[in-house]
């Protein structure tokens, strides 16, 4: 074996070994090249000057898959403008916690991530940078939108959202009703059951399928379940509890019965129905009512602006005449405390830019992009029709239903409730509802005590 051959063999095996490790080292490249691109003279220690130069970089782990494209574009624009590298990664629907858990243990951990409220914060508070006194905190339109952990400001809400029952008013008209005919649960029940009775003649159903697939079940185990919780909190004058009583569970049941028995398919099939199924049924005019929120505007816009309306989710409790839509947030930005100081600074600058600069606000608020209502001073008039409907409700003096579901004890609680609802939908017996009740009440106390 000649010497050159030996060297060749050595080089080949070295290359083989390196290629195995390449996966681990690859991601570091951008931050390195970025430091050079910033134009700082080599040799001078970076990040000491205190200004927000191109020293740090941002890694945003995004929660909302429907806005992934917009965030990617916004990140690119920010990099063009400032030279700071922004990496946006989006977790798959329902996989945020899983993704965050593995991402944050990496060397290049997300510098910007999000939690869904007090319960989510309990898990991540050791990673949250105290945002009090930061520039972005000064931009909040109200301190209510800060997520506090004692005196530390751990998170900042970046979007306010509203949900209710989205209505195809054209179909509702064909059935002989208008939005004004529905002012309470009793009205809604009457209309829905009438449509079901004439389903074959009308050619559409009352509700879209209340799909219990993972892509859709949050609409019921979380968003619909918010209503009995909200009314119980209101009745008791509290904002959170260790032991829920389930005062309004019968109303929850009546509403769930209405959804599952007046939708496009047999209730036994709901376990297999997805979120896409519901959307498809709504836009192809197979159903009049579709429970979802402002974030779904892009999905339902095809129905046509003139045909869209929204109703509060009436469950037959409280002052129904003045009940509004459900408005709140479960999206709080948190900055990773363990990130490098220059990265934290870069992240804070990026957040500030998103909610103050023209481009940032355009992307966040415009209906062509994310269509958010942001709780910051710079919030723009929205072109999201559903947002405007929500604003009208507030302007008309109705009382918005608060989002109480961030106080739900855990993801586990929601999942158990969802499974119980699915089982009940397939076989609507009192015994199965008892399982739902246990999942709601007993499991609340059990999960809260953990």
């Amino acid at each position: 074996m000649s010497k050159s051959k030996k060297i060749l063999a050595l080089a080949l095996s070295a290359a083989m070994a390196l290629s195995l490790l390449a996966g681990c080292g690859g991601e570091k490249a951008p931050s390195g090249s970025n430091a050079n691109g910033g134009g700082s003279t080599s040799g001078a220690p970076a990040g000491n000057d205190g200004t927000s130069g191109a020293a740090g970089s941002v890694y945003y782990l995004n929660f909302k898959p429907e806005q992934d494209g917009d965030w990617q574009e916004l990140a690119k624009l920010y990099t063009q403008e400032t030279g700071v590298e922004v990496k946006v990664q989006t977790a798959a629907s329902g996989q945020y916690e899983t993704t965050l858990m593995s991402e944050i243990a990496k060397t290049d951990a997300p510098t910007l991530f999000q939690v869904n409220g007090p319960v989510g914060l309990a898990n991540w508070k050791d990673y949250c940078y105290d945002l009090s006194g930061s520039k972005i905190a000064g931009e909040l339109s109200s301190d209510d939108f800060a997520l506090m952990d004692g005196s530390a400001m751990s998170g900042i809400a970046y979007v306010i959202e509203t949900y209710g029952i989205i209505v195809n008013t054209k179909l509702l008209g064909e059935a002989g009703y208008s939005l004004d005919d529905i002012k309470s649960f009793a009205d809604l029940k009457k209309v829905a059951e009438d449509i079901t009775a004439r389903k074959d003649e009308l050619g559409f159903s009352a509700f879209t399928s209340a799909g219990m697939d993972g892509s859709s079940d949050w609409r019921f185990k979380t968003h619909l379940a918010n209503l009995p919780i909200y009314f119980e909190y209101e009745a008791d004058g509290i904002g959170d509890t260790d032991a829920i009583k389930g005062t309004y569970l019968d109303n929850y049941r009546a509403m769930w019965d209405l959804y599952i028995n007046n939708c496009t398919c047999a209730p036994t099939l709901l376990s297999a129905k997805t979120g896409d199924d519901s959307v498809a049924e709504f836009v192809t005019e197979q159903a009049v009512f579709y429970q979802n929120g402002t974030w779904a505007y892009g999905d339902v816009a095809d129905v046509g602006e003139e045909n869209l309306g929204m109703l509060p989710i009436y469950i037959g409790v409280g002052d129904e005449a003045n009940q509004g839509l459900c408005t709140g947030t479960e999206n709080y930005w948190c900055v990773n405390k363990n990130a490098k100081p220059e990265d934290i600074q870069a992240t804070l600058d990026f957040m500030y830019w998103c909610v103050t600069s023209e481009t940032g606000l355009e992307y966040m608020c415009s209906g062509d992009h994310m269509g958010f209502v942001v709780p910051f001073k710079g919030n723009l008039e929205s072109s999201n029709l559903l947002v405007n409907i929500a604003n009208d409700y507030v302007a008309n003096g109705t009382t918005s239903v608060k989002w109480c579901f961030p106080t739900m004890p855990s993801e586990e609680w929601k999942n158990v409730l969802g499974s119980a609802l699915t089982a009940y939908a397939a076989d609507q017996t009192d015994a199965n509802w008892e399982t739902v009740r246990a999942a709601f009440v007993d499991n609340w106390a059990a999960e809260k005590s953990k």
């Binding site: 063999a9 593995s102 243990a105 036994t268 376990s271 297999a272 499974s419």
Partner: protein, 280 residues
Amino acid sequence: MEKTIKRYFPIFLGPTFAAFIIGFIVPFLMGIYLSFCDFRTVIDAKPNGIDNYIRAFQDTDFVHAFGFTALFTVVTLVLINVIAFAVAMVLTREIKGTNLFRTVFFMPNLIGGIVLGYVWQLIFNGILARYDLALKISAKYGFWGLVVVICWQQIGYMMIIYIAGLQSIPGDLNEAAEIDGANGWQRLWNVTIPNMMPSITICTFLTLTNGFKLFDQNLSLTAGEPMKQTEMLALNIFNTFYGRVGYQGVGQAKAVLFFILVVGLGLIQLKMTRSKEVQQ
């Protein structure tokens, strides 16, 4: 030549060995350590003794998952091996198109578990929807659904191993038995199967451990619905680790218990079937 091998073996072994250490040994040891810790992410662990193990045993879902997995493994172990053996017997006869049949039977094995689960979910739900039923409304449907999918996927693989085994039996053994007046069953029980024991050892080992380790198909086909009744051990561990705040350590403890269980069962099974192997 030998001298060269001695001198250069680190170059050839090194990369694989490094990969094995990085990808298996280190995570494995870390996992054992973490099962005695309270942690959120793997870098901030604080030891908390055997607390995790106590909580793992208190979890009724884990115990249920064990029962469900054990039942599933027994059923698939029997079905897969019996059917694969039968198919192998048929496809070693001289029929036209044997190779085509072998290929077709083997093909399901080339599809990944998640895809398989979702495709079969569509098939099952498509059929059940005719009767206004769905896969996730009853644990019974989920169980048999999983059995069908796994059988469909693994029979072809086991069949290939059995075919190889069958072809390695010397023809004169069967011939001699036939001359001695043995009928078909007697030849199968007394000649073929004893000679097939090495293949049977491998196949039962594979089906046993595959049954216990099943994850992808479980996740995509039923995801444990309804109400965790079709949740198998691996999925239960995954859900504990990732789905529940503050339960990461418990999930890790379950994983260690799971490892001990699978290794233990595997060793027992190997010992049992090995003892029946015959030397030709």
